[in-house]
């Protein structure tokens, strides 16, 4: 568990507008962290500051062991909509990116080729980028971000512009990269975040409102419920009249909050069975990441 990146009190103020407000967090080596927040929360600005593109108004971004070096050499950055020089071929662009990032000139060519093959552009590497489709550009974007084997990979909405097939392919590439490098990516597609995340950062109006592991955040916001669907409203009413638990009901549904009462699924099933209630379904519900997202973002 070596710390790789320490961001402290990072702020960006444009006029009166605090786009990023005193963001503080650390990233551990070889973990993936999702930066989650609604549109306009400051995700892109925060990533741009970490990439060295935007100068922070206040605060620091410190990449470990790189204190005397240009930290941009150890960072790979993929903007949300990467723009390329259309008159270059994929291999020319990737080689240029590698050279600029300080890859040894003797291995630039082979590294660029390997990277393009890795992202699935092996057959298209001699084509002009101007002829590329959106999905191909996104993969090329990934290639230029990883060709110099950065310690930290910053990805701004890496899959949100892609169709489901492209999204799946890029997610699989990211999962492979996860083994070798530290990834910080912003997203508002929460299924993706759930799939490859060790740490979650929730950003709301520029403020970091939640920071923790996926499981700890889930636990905090999960809000479990046992939901019973009765066959009729009368049956639900009968259950309400007998039960001693704190309940909430609507039509033929009854929900039980098990957290403050010592109730589990077993107790509920036993009670239903004892008085032969006619039921359709009993379900243990926890909030998924989307509901947690709504909860975190909406609460003020």
């Amino acid at each position: 568990m070596t710390e790789l990146l320490r961001v402290s009190q990072l702020s960006k103020i444009y006029g009166d507008n605090k786009v990023v407000d005193s963001m503080t967090f650390e990233l551990v080596e070889k973990t993936s962290t999702a930066l989650i927040g609604p549109n306009g929360a400051g995700k892109t600005t925060a990533l741009s500051m970490m990439a060295g593109l935007v100068t922070p108004t206040e605060g620091t971004v410190l990449l470990k062991e790189e204190e005397n070096k240009d930290s941009r050499a150890s960072i790979g950055f993929l903007p949300q909509y990467p723009k390329f020089f259309p008159w270059l071929t994929a291999i020319e662009f990737t080689e240029m990116a590698a050279r600029l990032s300080g890859v040894d000139s003797r291995i630039v060519q082979s590294e660029a080729q390997k990277t393009l093959e890795f992202v699935g552009l092996g057959d298209a590497m001699k084509k002009r980028i101007g002829t590329f489709s959106g999905g191909m550009k996104q993969r090329l974007g990934l290639a230029q971000a990883v060709v110099h084997k950065p310690k930290l990979l910053l990805l701004d909405e890496p899959v949100s512009a892609l169709d489901p097939v492209g999204r799946r392919q890029v997610m699989n590439l990211l999962k492979e990269l996860q083994q070798q490098t530290t990834i910080l990516y912003s997203t508002h597609i929460l299924n993706d975040a759930e799939e490859m995340t060790d740490q979650l950062l929730f950003l709301r109006k520029g403020e970091l409102v939640e920071n923790g592991s996926l499981s700890s955040i889930k636990e905090k916001y999960a809000n479990p419920r046992i939901l019973i669907e009765f066959e009729s409203v009368e049956e639900a009413a009968r259950f309400l009249s007998i039960s001693t638990w704190t309940l909430a009901s609507k039509n033929n549904f009854v929900s039980i909050d098990p957290s403050h009462q010592q109730i589990g699924m077993t107790e509920v099933l036993a009670a239903l069975h004892a008085d032969s209630f006619r039921i359709r379904k009993v379900e243990w519900q926890t909030a998924n990441l989307e509901e947690i997202f709504m909860k975190v973002v909406m609460s003020s």
Binding site: L53, D70, A73, F85, W87, S101, G102
Partner: protein
Amino acid sequence: MKNTGVLVQKEFREHSRNFKLYWIPIVFIILGIVEPVTNHYLPQIMESVGNLPEGSDFMWPQFQGTDIFVSLMGQYQLIGILIIILAFMGSISGERKSGTATLLYVRPMSFVSYFFSKWIVINAIVLGSLWAGFLAASYYIRILFGPVAFGDILKFVGTYSLWIVFAVTVVLTLSASLSTGAAAGLSILILFVFQVLDSVIGAFWTVSPWKLSIYATYPLQGDSVPTGYWMSLTLTVVLIVLLFILGAYMSKRNASKTTV
């Protein structure tokens, strides 16, 4: 500066693939050929297509080869500089606007190298075009008007080239500092309007980059070195250096304005 080579290669590829490397020299060469040819055949051209009334007789001026060089320079002052402004006004601002600069700026790249790579490649294209144009012109001038001393041509083109480098630096520095439109507008102001102002009220001073194009013609007119010639050269070099420093600084300062 270790990345300069990579960036210079990128600039050359860019200008070769958007054909600026080819069409700019072609335009300069065409201007260089057309100027002596039309001037030489002017009486015949006017006779056949000029719609002159029957029996009209003009005294056509007797041009010397040196006059043609000066009038060709007049063409480059207008069309040549306009080409420089239009072709290169977006060199840096355009990369910022389109977002193609983003993937360069996030790399460990020095903005001095970045600015230098553009400056050297644009100057190479423009000066190459200018020299090719004057070379083509001197061939036709030699045939049609007789030889002009090579040393005089060299002095003339040399002085004029410094003015062109100044023009390129102005355009590039403005492109680094402002948006493409504003860069174009201010370039026109500095390179055309100031030129006119300098010739209207410039009698009060002798040292100015805008006087270089006039001073450049002194060897062709058989004059002695004009007052303020060397000081103007020195001032222009100093201004080019200062503009270069400003341009590199402004590229860095405006880096965060690139489209992410």
